[in-house]
Every structure is written in structure tokens, then in C-alpha cells.
């Protein structure tokens, strides 16, 4: 049964991709744009279709019409694209024929790519266990479904959700968490195809396929494509498609091309705040290639129409389009200093920057030595081979655009966040370029150089394949039904045991009020809850909630009926809450010893703590 559900969800994600291609194909035909290369054309269609779908879902969300609107939108996409079926089918058939007529080496590489994609796709269908996803990527859309479209100041990170999260919302509206995960797996597949298309501009098909395989086996990519539950790979796909499209800007002077490039850049900016950096790099590359202010203005218009919506939402709700990062200047009276400092630290925005560290970002070699993690392990390819690409590959439009966007995006991330994993959107571009550099050394170098290139590539790919197998094995077992959903979540999902305990105790009391919880991973809570950890809750400001009276008023305003501590309250608010307990205004009604992870989940160290549910007495 689990296997059937897994395959059905993957099939549904594939169908969504196909509908997006059909809709995009129709739009490109209206604009009289045809790019000749079938694979690239289909990629542009998918990108355009998805970006416009996201923008449409935003309006459905704002109008409170998600449950009716999303199925209708999908049907409308199918109807609009039905006339494109023969043309799209012809392009797909040509693509398949080209793959089947390849050399033995190409077929082997293609089979390896398919095997990796299948393994990652199945792993992606396991129940959600990603830490950030359980805190907000999935939890925030889930709250929208339950409580409607409203600002949630209890989870500050909910303001960071962008248009990529509307695809998660789409999956949840259609009743399937697996489909939501499938819609986050899809961009990995598309970005890998984009990387191969870009690499093909410089190297043979074998090398291009190798670049795609290296992208899919990259540890950060296989984490994001399978279990992470985050939409960042959509930015990677839009970015590589934008490179391919922008490189045509000098030869094709049509405003439609400028608008299409802008829409892709807008799609990136609309996914996440850091997307603005990549969108700016794409604008720079477009302006450089087109040498036209007028077409750059068209580009900008397309970008705004496609990707401004999360910023407009945040501006209307808070007065700060990039809430909470500009609140210090735009709404200083409403700043929660502790939550802001915590947010700046967790996103790396408050980190130190130096030239000696900055140059490493475009080469994916910036590692935080004090706290290194696998989320920084992008492999050595970009560091080793990207400089060789810069030196050895002819400076065509593709070279220029790839270099501007990779360097611009990488340096921008280094300057603003200091976390190399946020540079993921330019990874397929950097890898395509890196493999072009490796191919050039192989073609021009002697036996030793060729051997070193082969060892470098084979070494990291073998390591990555092994790491993928070890990392994703439990998820695959859960997705195909070898491990039950319950066992998998007990073993892998942080804070699952405490969520289950709260659900059990408060079941049937949903109408009495909300539960205030302080544990981070709230996705599996089935009762109405408010997140109150001072580190990431704008609403719980220790400076304003310093007395029992303030808390009494806070409970009343937010209909808080229960407070769950596990085992302590956050230290900044311990004093007034413990005073309420001593006064008998907070009475423990249930307690249970639960296990959760200590430190990094990958280390598998668990600890037992006591969760206590207190009732608020009027």
C-alpha cells in the first residue's frame, strides 16, 4: 500500500510537471518564441508554467479560495495546454530518441542518473522529518490551511515563506503530504537536466551527463531533494534556465525574451529572500548581454509581476517587505530584539565577513570551521575545476552569463548571509562550468592530468553515492512500507514523541483554546497551537512579558488554554511562568517522559526529557 501511494504521488508530481510544460508551451507560442533545442525549450516551458502557477496560487491564498481554486487552476492549465499536446509530445519523442541513439557510455550514464533519481524520488516520499520543514516550511502552509491567510507572529520564520511554499500548500490542499514532497523533488530533476543542457554548450554529451549526475549526487542536493522538505531547489532550476535563456539576449532582441528572463528571475526572488541576490545577478547578466535599457526595463517588469507577492504580503502585514530583517529601520517600536538577534544569527546575517573568506563562496568552498556540517559539503568540483573553466573555456555568451551569475550570486550570499548552503541556486551552473573545465584539462592535458581529473571525479562521486545510500536508506524503507510510518517518525522525526503526547491529551478539546508550545518541530501537532520559544517567536517578547500580569493578558488575548513545557520554559520567561504555577494559575494536568534528539540528528544521540502540559486557570 505504501509503495502504491509512493508511486502514485511521484506520478502526480510528474503530471503537475507535464501540465506546467503544456501551459508554458502555450505561452511561448503566443509570444512566438521557439528556442530550437527541444530539451531546453521544454525546460523553459516548465519553468514559466511553474512560476505563473505559483503567482496564481498566491492570489487564491489571499482570497481564501485555495480548496476550490487549486483544482480549478490545474484543470484550467490542462485545458489551456491541451492543444499543445501534439507539439510537446513530438519534442519529448525526439528527446527520448536522442537518448536511445546515444553511445554505450551515454546510455550507462543516463541509466545511472535514472537510478539515482528513482532512489531519491522514493526517499522523498517518506513521511516528513526535515527539521526546518517541521518548524515552518510545511508547518506554516499547514497553519494557513487550518487558520486561513493571516500573519503568524508566533512563528517568525513563517514570514520567510515564499512562492515555492505555495507548491507545498498545493500538495497539502490536495490532501497529500507526499505530493507536496514530490513537488519539491521535481526541481531537483529539472535542475539536473538544466545543468546537462548548460554543460552541453561547452562539452560532449558524456561530460554533460556527468555534470547532471554530479549535481544529483551532491550531498546538499540529495538532502534537499529527498528528506529536507524545502523549496530551495526551485531557485536552482529557475537559475540554470535563466542562464540558458539570458545567453540568447544578444542574438534575440524581442521583448518577450526579456520578459521571460525576468519572470524566471522573479520566480527566484519570490521563493526566498536570498533569491533577490540571484535575481539581481541575472538582471546584471541580462543588461550586459542585451545592452538595452528598454529590454532591461521589460525584464524588471516581468520579474516584479512574477515574484513580488511575498514581499507585498509582508509589507501589508508588517510594514517591512523583508520582515523581520528591516524592522529595525521601518518599524523600530515593534521590534522583538531577542527574536531578531536569533533570526540574524540563524540565517548568518550577523556573521563576520572578510575578503579572505568571501572568495570561497562562488567556489562552494566556504566552510564554517567552528561549526562544520554536512549542509556545507558541496564537494571539491567547483573549487578545483571552476577556475580551470574560467581559464580554458572560450568566452561565449554562455560563459559570460554563467560567470556573472555564479560569481555575483556566490559573492552576494557571502556578503549577506555567510552560509554557503544558501548559494545552492547557482550550484547547477557552477557544476556545469566545473565539468567543462575538467573536460578541457582532460582534452588538453597529459596522462597525469587526465588521471587526476578522473580520480577527483570518481572519488567524490563514489563517496557521494555511498553517502546517499546510507543517508536515504531509512527513508526509502519507510516510503515502500518496509518500516511503518509510525516507527519511522518515532526514530527520525525530532519532537515527534512530544507532539504525539500533546495530541493525545488534548484530543477533543480543540474548541477550548490554543496550546502554547516551546518545542521547535510543530508540524505533527494536530491541536490548535501557538509556538512560543523566544528564539523564533516574534509574539513572545521577554521584555513585554516580564510579569505574571502580562502573561495573564497574553493568555486571554490569544485564547491560550494550555502551556506545554518540555521540560523547562525558555530561560528568559521562566520567572513569570513559574510564578503563575506557584499561584495555581498554571496547573500541570499531564506529564510524560519522551525521547528526542540531542545535537545533530545524524549522530543519533537521543535524550529523555519530561513533557508537562499545564492548564491555564481563569
Amino acid at each position: 500500500m505504501a509503495l502504491i501511494a509512493t508511486l502514485a504521488a511521484l506520478g502526480a508530481a510528474g503530471l503537475f510537471c507535464f501540465l506546467s510544460i503544456l501551459a508554458g508551451h502555450r505561452l511561448f507560442r503566443w509570444c512566438a518564441l521557439d528556442f530550437g533545442n527541444d530539451t531546453e525549450h521544454l525546460l523553459y516551458c516548465a519553468a514559466l508554467g511553474v512560476v505563473l502557477f505559483e503567482a496564481a496560487v498566491f492570489f487564491l491564498e489571499a482570497a481564501g479560495a485555495l480548496r476550490v481554486g487549486i483544482p480549478l487552476l490545474l484543470v484550467a492549465s490542462a485545458v489551456a495546454g491541451i492543444w499543445e499536446l501534439p507539439l510537446v509530445y513530438r519534442r519529448l519523442a525526439l528527446l527520448v530518441r536522442r537518448i536511445l541513439s546515444g553511445t554505450r557510455g551515454q546510455k550507462l550514464l543516463f541509466a545511472a542518473i535514472l537510478a539515482v533519481l528513482l532512489f531519491e524520488g522514493i526517499a522523498a516520499m517518506a513521511p516528513l522529518t526535515g527539521s526546518d520543514a517541521m518548524h515552518y516550511h510545511f508547518a506554516a502552509p499547514s497553519q494557513v490551511l487550518q487558520a486561513g491567510f493571516h500573519p503568524d507572529f508566533f512563528i517568525t520564520s513563517s514570514f520567510l515563506t515564499g512562492q515555492g511554499h505555495l507548491l507545498i500548500l498545493t500538495g497539502l490542499v490536495l490532501g497529500s503530504e507526499k505530493l507536496a514532497m514530490g513537488l519539491l523533488y521535481l526541481p531537483g530533476l529539472l535542475a539536473a537536466t538544466g545543468a546537462a543542457c548548460l554543460a552541453r554548450r561547452w562539452v560532449s554529451r558524456e561530460w554533460a551527463l556527468l555534470a547532471a549526475l554530479a549535481f544529483l549526487l551532491n550531498p546538499v542536493v540529495f538532502w534537499q531533494i529527498s528528506t529536507a522538505g524545502v523549496p530551495d531547489l526551485w531557485m536552482a532550476f529557475f537559475a540554470v534556465a535563466a542562464v540558458l535563456l539570458t545567453a540568447r539576449a544578444r542574438a534575440d532582441c524581442s521583448p518577450a525574451l526579456a520578459a521571460a528572463c525576468g519572470i524566471l528571475a522573479g520566480g527566484i526572488a519570490g521563493t526566498k529572500y536570498v533569491g533577490c541576490i540571484f535575481a539581481a545577478a541575472i538582471l546584471l547578466a541580462f543588461a550586459w548581454e542585451s545592452r538595452s535599457l528598454k529590454r532591461s526595463a521589460v525584464f524588471l517588469s516581468g520579474a516584479l509581476v512574477a515574484g513580488i507577492w511575498p514581499y507585498a504580503r509582508n509589507f501589508v502585514w508588517t510594514g517591512d517587505p523583508v520582515f523581520p530583517f528591516a524592522s529595525r529601520w521601518l518599524a523600530p517600536s515593534r521590534v522583538n530584539g531577542q527574536a531578531l538577534a536569533s533570526m540574524l544569527a540563524s540565517t548568518g546575517a550577523s556573521g563576520q565577513r572578510s575578503i579572505a573568506h568571501l572568495w570561497r563562496f562562488p567556489f562552494f568552498a566556504a566552510v564554517d570551521r567552528a561549526n562544520p556540517g554536512f549542509w556545507e559539503l558541496f564537494g571539491p568540483f567547483c573549487l578545483v575545476f571552476f577556475p580551470l573553466f574560467l581559464a580554458l573555456i572560450p568566452r561565449t555568451a554562455y560563459w559570460r552569463v554563467a560567470v556573472i551569475i555564479t560569481l555575483g550570486g556566490g559573492l552576494g550570499i557571502g556578503l549577506t548571509s555567510g552560509m554557503v548552503r544558501f548559494a545552492l541556486p547557482v550550484l547547477p551552473i557552477a557544476l556545469a562550468a566545473a565539468f567543462a573545465g575538467a573536460a578541457a584539462v582532460t582534452a588538453e592535458g597529459g596522462r597525469i592530468a587526465r588521471g587526476l581529473v578522473a580520480v577527483t571525479i570518481a572519488g567524490f562521486l563514489l563517496f557521494s553515492a555511498g553517502a546517499l545510500a546510507v543517508y536515504a536508506r531509512p527513508a526509502v524503507a519507510a516510503a515502500v512500507g518496509l518500516t511503518s510510518r509510525e516507527d519511522y517518525l518515532q526514530q527520525r522525526a525530532p519532537d515527534y514523541a512530544v507532539s504525539k503526547f500533546v495530541n493525545r491529551i488534548l484530543a477533543g478539546k480543540e474548541n477550548e483554546g490554543n496550546a502554547l508550545v516551546f518545542f521547535r518541530h510543530v508540524y505533527y501537532l494536530k491541536v490548535p497551537y501557538l509556538y512560543g520559544n523566544t528564539e523564533d517567536s516574534w509574539a513572545v517578547d521577554p521584555t513585554r512579558l516580564a510579569t505574571p500580569e502580562a502573561w495573564r493578558e497574553f493568555f486571554r488575548q490569544n485564547r491560550i488554554r494550555w502551556v506545554v513545557r518540555s521540560p523547562q520554559y525558555p530561560k528568559e520567561i521562566t520567572e513569570p511562568l513559574e510564578q503563575l504555577e506557584r499561584n495555581g494559575e498554571l496547573t500541570p494536568i499531564a506529564r510524560k517522559d519522551v525521547t528526542t534528539f540531542q545535537g545533530m540528528r545524524i549522530l543519533g544521540i537521543r535524550k529523555t526529557l519530561t513533557a508537562i502540559i499545564c492548564q491555564v486557570n481563569d
Partner: protein, 64 residues
């Protein structure tokens, strides 16, 4: 004497030129090899502590 092409009309000691080019290519290749080895070593060294902390318990478990 070259009779055609960009070097037409100019006199070159071709064996010497080839040797010079060969040496230059060898030098470039040597630089490329050193870069590939050096950059990788530096890259992996940054993760040495992380690999140790993750692999050690796994290997210890396998040993038992």
C-alpha cells in the same frame, strides 16, 4: 620560411619552437596538477573534524 597561414613570410626554427611550446604545455600541466591536488587537500581538510566525529562512532560500532 612559412609559405602560408598567419606565420607566412617569417622564418622560424620549428623544432626549437615545438620544444618551447612543449615545455610550456608541460609547465601548465604541472601547474594544473598541483592545483588539483592542493585545492582538494585543502578542501577536504576543512571537513576532517566533521568526518572524524561522524565516522568514528560508526566504525566503532562495526568493530564491536
Amino acid at each position: 620560411m612559412q609559405s602560408s597561414g598567419p606565420l607566412a613570410g617569417k622564418c622560424y626554427n620549428l623544432p626549437g619552437l615545438r620544444e618551447k611550446m612543449f615545455r610550456r604545455i608541460k609547465l601548465l600541466e604541472l601547474l594544473a596538477c598541483l592545483w588539483i591536488i592542493g585545492a582538494q587537500t585543502w578542501y577536504y581538510a576543512q571537513f576532517a573534524e566533521l568526518f572524524r566525529s561522524v565516522l568514528q562512532p560508526i566504525l566503532r560500532g562495526l568493530w564491536r
